[in-house]
Subunit: 337 residues, 2 copies
C-alpha cells in the first residue's frame, strides 16, 4: 500500500507550452489540519529525493512536530513518485517528457493546498536544495499566503556555476551509449555510476574528505564510500527522471513567470515572509555568497549559515545530527515568532 | 622541425616494477647555461600541458628571463611529447602503458639535468598544478641541489578530495563505449567532451562564473565557453595519455619513495630550499588549506595565496595578466634573495 496520496491535477499547462494530461502530484501529510487552518507547513522534496526522504526532520519534539503542525510534503515532478518520465503515459513519457519548471511545480502545489485543503495561510515553507528553490518560489509567488520561509542550501535562481556543475553531471549520464537518447531498454548503469562519481566531489567539502568523515559513517574506505553511497544512490534511479529534475534545477529562477517578468530583484523583493536563509558554509554549488546577495534584496530575511564541513549535505534532512539540530533550532525559532 | 630536444633515458625502471625501454624525456631549454652552472631554473609541465604551454611565464623582463637564466622545461611522461601511451612502442603502448609516478618523473628529470648538463645546483624549481607537485618532489628528493622552489596551485600529496574530483573526470572518459578499455580505433570524443564539461566547474571558481569573466575573454556565451574552451582543449588530446597523467596525479605523494618511506612529514621537512608556496585563494581542488598544512612542516617556506577569482587557473602560466604578474613578482623576489 502506498504511503502517500495523489492530487489529480488534470491537464497541467506547463510554462513550456506543453500540456501534461492526467498529471499526478503525489504528497504525504503528517499531523492534522486544525480548525483555524493555521498550522500548515509545506516541505517540498529535493533532487532525487521523495517524500520519505524528508522525514528525518519530522517528528515529536522537533520543529516539524505532527502533534502541532499539519505538514504537507509534495513530491517534485520528475522524482519518480509524482508524474515523471518513468511513470507518465505516452506520448509524454520517457525521453519525450516535457520540461517542467520551478514555477510549474509550485503552481501545482498551490492548487493542492487550496483546492484539496482550502488552506489560505501557510505558517512555514521549508526545504533543502531544490526544496529550498521551491521554498523561495512559494514565498515570491504567494506573499499574502506564506508567513515564514526557511530555504536550506538552495538559491532563488540557479547560478551559472551551479549550471556548469550540472552540465558535468548530465554529460556523465548521457555519454553512456546505453542511454540511447533516453530510449534505453536497460538502465544506462555505467552512466549512472559515473554520475555518482562526478557528484561525490561536489556534494561534500574538501574538509569532509580531509577528515575522512565517511569512515565515521561506517564506510570502510574512500572507494567503499564512492561505491556504496554515491554510486548506489544513483543506479536505482531512472535516468530520464534524473535528467528531468536537472532541467528543472538548471532553469530554476523565481522571477521566470508572468508575475515577475524575469525581474529577479522584484521577485526577491516580493517575498514578504519572515525568512531565515541557511546556506552551508562549505557548500560548493550553492555557496553562501549567492544567498547573501539574495538576502540583501529580501525585505525580512536573515542569513544564517550552517557552519559545517558537510558541504551541500549539511542541510540534508537528518543527514547528520549536528547540522540537522542547527536547522531544527532555526525552524523552532521562526515558528515561535 | 621539433622545437625540443630528447633525452634518451634508456631502460627506465619504474616504481611500479615495469621497465619502460627506450624511454624519451622531451625537453626544451631557454637561454644559456653560464660557466658556473649556477643560473639554472627547472620548470616542469602541468596536466595536459606541453613545454610550449609554460612559455607565458618566460621572456625578457620576466623573472624567468632567458638572457639571465638557463631554463629547462621537461615534459611530464604521458603528456604526448615525452614517452606516453600514444607514442610508446609495443608492448607498453596505449592501454598497456605502465603506471608512471611523480617520483619516476622527477628522478628522470634529475638524470637529464645531471647527465646531459652536468648541473649540480638549481637556482629555482617552479611549476603550476602537477608542475607544482613535481616542484615539491624536486625539493624533497634533492635538497642539497635545489636552492629555491615556488610551487603554484599544487600540493605535495594529492588530497582525497582532489582524488575524488579526478574519479569524476576519469568516469566521464571511460563511460564512452568508444573508449573500449583504451583500445579505441577512433577517439572517444563523447567521453572527451564530457570530461571537458566535468572539468569546467572545477577549474575556475563560482565567482568566475558569477562575474561572467569568460565574456571578457571573448567567448560569446556560457555555452560558447564550455564548448570552445573546455571541450576544445580535450577533444584533440589522446584519452590514454590523459588517463596516464591522471594516474600520476591521483597517486602523487612526495614521500612515496625509498628516501622517505611514506613519511609525509619527513618528506616535507627534507625540503631545505627557500620556498614561496602559492595556492589560488579560490582553487577548488588544490585549496589553500592543504598548502597551509604543508608549509607548517617545511623549514623555510612562506604561504602566499594568489587573491583571485580564477580558481585553479589563477596560476596557469600566462593565463591571465594580473595573477601571472603576481606570480612573476614572487619569482623575481625569490631569485633575488
Amino acid at each position: 500500500m502506498a504511503d502517500y496520496e495523489i492530487f489529480e491535477a488534470g491537464d497541467l499547462e506547463l510554462q513550456s507550452g506543453a500540456t501534461l494530461r492526467g498529471a499526478k502530484l503525489a504528497y504525504k501529510t503528517h499531523g492534522q489540519l486544525n480548525s483555524n487552518k493555521d498550522n500548515v507547513v509545506v516541505f517540498p522534496t529535493f533532487f532525487g529525493g521523495q517524500h520519505t526522504h524528508n522525514e528525518g526532520m519530522i517528528g515529536e519534539g522537533k520543529a516539524l512536530d505532527p502533534s502541532k503542525y499539519f505538514i504537507i510534503v509534495p513530491n517534485m515532478f520528475g522524482n519518480s513518485v509524482s508524474t515523471s518520465p518513468s511513470n507518465a503515459t505516452p506520448p509524454y513519457n520517457r525521453a519525450r517528457f516535457p520540461e517542467v519548471s520551478l514555477f510549474d511545480n509550485v503552481f501545482c502545489q498551490h492548487r493542492l493546498v487550496t483546492e484539496v485543503f482550502g488552506i489560505e495561510k501557510i505558517a512555514l515553507v521549508t526545504g533543502w536544495s531544490m526544496g529550498a528553490q521551491q521554498t523561495y518560489q512559494w514565498g515570491s509567488l504567494y506573499p499574502e499566503m506564506v508567513e515564514r520561509i526557511v530555504p536550506v542550501c538552495g538559491s532563488a535562481k540557479t547560478s551559472r556555476h551551479n549550471f556548469v556543475f550540472l552540465e558535468g553531471v548530465k554529460a556523465a549520464i548521457t555519454t553512456d551509449a546505453e542511454w540511447v537518447g533516453g530510449s534505453y531498454k536497460t538502465p544506462p548503469l555505467k552512466g549512472l555510476r559515473a554520475m555518482g562519481r562526478v557528484y561525490a566531489g561536489w556534494a561534500v567539502s574538501q574538509a569532509f574528505y580531509r577528515e575522512e568523515v565517511y569512515l565515521d559513517l561506517g564506510y570502510t574506505s574512500l572507494e567503499d564510500y564512492l561505491v556504496n553511497f554515491w554510486e548506489a544512490r544513483r543506479v536505482n534511479a531512472d535516468a530520464n527522471d534524473l535528467l528531468s529534475m536537472i532541467w528543472t534545477w538548471q532553469n530554476a529562477d523565481i522571477s521566470n513567470n508572468q508575475m515577475h517578468g524575469g525581474d529577479f530583484h522584484k521577485a526577491l523583493g516580493a517575498i514578504k515572509a519572515k525568512a531565515i536563509v541557511m546556506p552551508g558554509r562549505t557548500d560548493l554549488y550553492f555557496p553562501p555568497e549567492d544567498n547573501e546577495a539574495e538576502v540583501a534584496q529580501m525585505p525580512n530575511a536573515e542569513l544564517r549559515p550552517i557552519e559545517s564541513i558537510w558541504g551541500h549535505l549539511a542541510g540534508g534532512p537528518g543527514f547528520n545530527p549536528v547540522d540537522s539540530q542547527f536547522v531544527d533550532s532555526a525552524l523552532k525559532e521562526i515558528l515561535a515568532s
